[in-house]
Homo-oligomer: 256 residues x 3
Amino acid sequence: MCAPDSQLPAIAADVLERLRRQAPRVHCITNAVAQVFTANALLAAGAVPSMTIAPDEVGVFVERANALLINLGTFDPERRAASETAVAVARGVNLPWVLDPVFIDRSPVRAAFAKALLARNPAAIRLNRAEFVALAGAADEANMVAAFARSHGAVVGLTGATDLISDGQRLVAVGNGHAMMQKVTALGCAESALVAACLAVERDAWRACVAALLIFGVAGELAGRRARGPGSFAVEMLDALHGMDRDALLTQARVS
Amino acid sequence: MCAPDSQLPAIAADVLERLRRQAPRVHCITNAVAQVFTANALLAAGAVPSMTIAPDEVGVFVERANALLINLGTFDPERRAASETAVAVARGVNLPWVLDPVFIDRSPVRAAFAKALLARNPAAIRLNRAEFVALAGAADEANMVAAFARSHGAVVGLTGATDLISDGQRLVAVGNGHAMMQKVTALGCAESALVAACLAVERDAWRACVAALLIFGVAGELAGRRARGPGSFAVEMLDALHGMDRDALLTQARVS
Amino acid sequence: MCAPDSQLPAIAADVLERLRRQAPRVHCITNAVAQVFTANALLAAGAVPSMTIAPDEVGVFVERANALLINLGTFDPERRAASETAVAVARGVNLPWVLDPVFIDRSPVRAAFAKALLARNPAAIRLNRAEFVALAGAADEANMVAAFARSHGAVVGLTGATDLISDGQRLVAVGNGHAMMQKVTALGCAESALVAACLAVERDAWRACVAALLIFGVAGELAGRRARGPGSFAVEMLDALHGMDRDALLTQARVS
């Protein structure tokens, strides 16, 4: 059942081509700081973002979307209520959804909410190391990531210097990315939105998550070669996502 | 009464010069994703933006402004209430206001709200083709646009590969713009804000709307020549708005 | 007690080095338009931003932060409540906080709120000339700035073509900066956030404020040399903050 690692860059290229052909709608309930870069990253990659959290609209937007992102940054009561509605609607229509538990290591109430959402079957969870430790109560080692994914029935995409992606059975490490990604706000949030976009066009959630993290990581490396600092890095990142192609993925992806 | 088309680029240049000389204040009730780019586009063009939606402040900001924008994106209850107040104040002091019915094709409650606002005399409505169809219940052909403008007493600026601008009597098509404008969030929203800014310095709402769409479209073409993707396009767009001048408008405008 | 002016660029360089070494957490309650650029400017300079205004989270974020910014732009009821909580928590744990009374010259209720906050011991106030006049009821001359700082026990950082920084005893003028800074939204807001970041690593609030305004002003000049308009200026500004070093500060700072 496990795809050979050497096939993953080609699978990511297939997913990207479907993303551009199908232009899936991704509804994002995401934090105020991340909205613009997330919308632009989705557009650059080929998806169509929407972002409303209005109580009487969020349901219809989710129903007509192809995937959903729930990001817990700047988690005010309106976003919390919108997330409850959105996840309920998504489950009702069998829409894949992604959880990004931003900064749960900094806020106990947010961590509790993230744990409650875990029980509602996210297809994937994208988070960083501190957030994984807060969510899983365990170290961020590969076997812990796989065990957590297995016990929750969700793909985990743990990003950092090396990304780990597991669904409990399969586990892969992605070595792409660039240090400057830590110096631009909302990069991780946008990466989670890209996971949602890939889920809209690839039913195997592990492959979708690997594809998203490969596309994002390779784009980060290309951006890092052109940027002179974090301002130009953010610009180059969007250009690189837009210009990403099969050749760049096949030649630059580092999976192991 | 109809300006010869060949004069429109010069009229747009006049409007732009007044915009820079008068630096009008434009109060924008706009969606969370569009606020930053809209503010920067207004500043780049020469206007002064404000954006508050606080219930006890929005009235005084509108009173002291020279034009108002109501954009229905991310339309939460606070923005809805602020819009009601803002439009009432604007009408009381005879301030021109612009309606941008973002995504009403995606949300029935938003479409109903847009229709209610139509009765409150917007000077102009800026929207895309899907939104026009949802609002007008008609195809987006030139004669339908003119009929809709006539029956509602408002200028319609319908943007797309070709823009159509009509006040019911006059109708012009603007051929400027660039495909990359679809790949950056908030471009259309910022264009609506520029319509409001032009209304602040030009009483003929049709000329103001034509001027705004010409300035924006020509800036888009200049940006498209320099950009390598949607990230750099957004940057170049602001630079092009700031650097726009009579010569660029006279030589590059395509009106028919 | 007064630092010789000739030492101030070196002091700013020391503060910047500590900022990068300590990576202080700066909690920002700031307006919707300023959040992204503020977060990116703090990251570029070496600090770690957070931005939540959720009532049940803001306290814990402030407690775990090293400095706090209260910015009054887009001042809705949620931000107002969050500010009350945040300032109370900050005072309880002796955290330095900065007040940025954005646009109080445009809104009487906002001006009244700013005056109430003044009594709660901000370490520094960063504002422009129109805001100073509205807050102090006095002209923006150097002796008025010093008198206002003295009577309120807070450092005042008044920015414009020339910046004035006073704690009531000490007064310095900073001549760095660039005209394009007026053409990009949120630049002043981000500068206030940098004052907060510097307060987190420098107990002398006057030195912290001078350091922040020097770093920001020199970055603005470097950005202005590379930019072709306000779009590229914003990008270059972040790159310049990230690349700022002792040499640039020592050779380019203009203090008097």
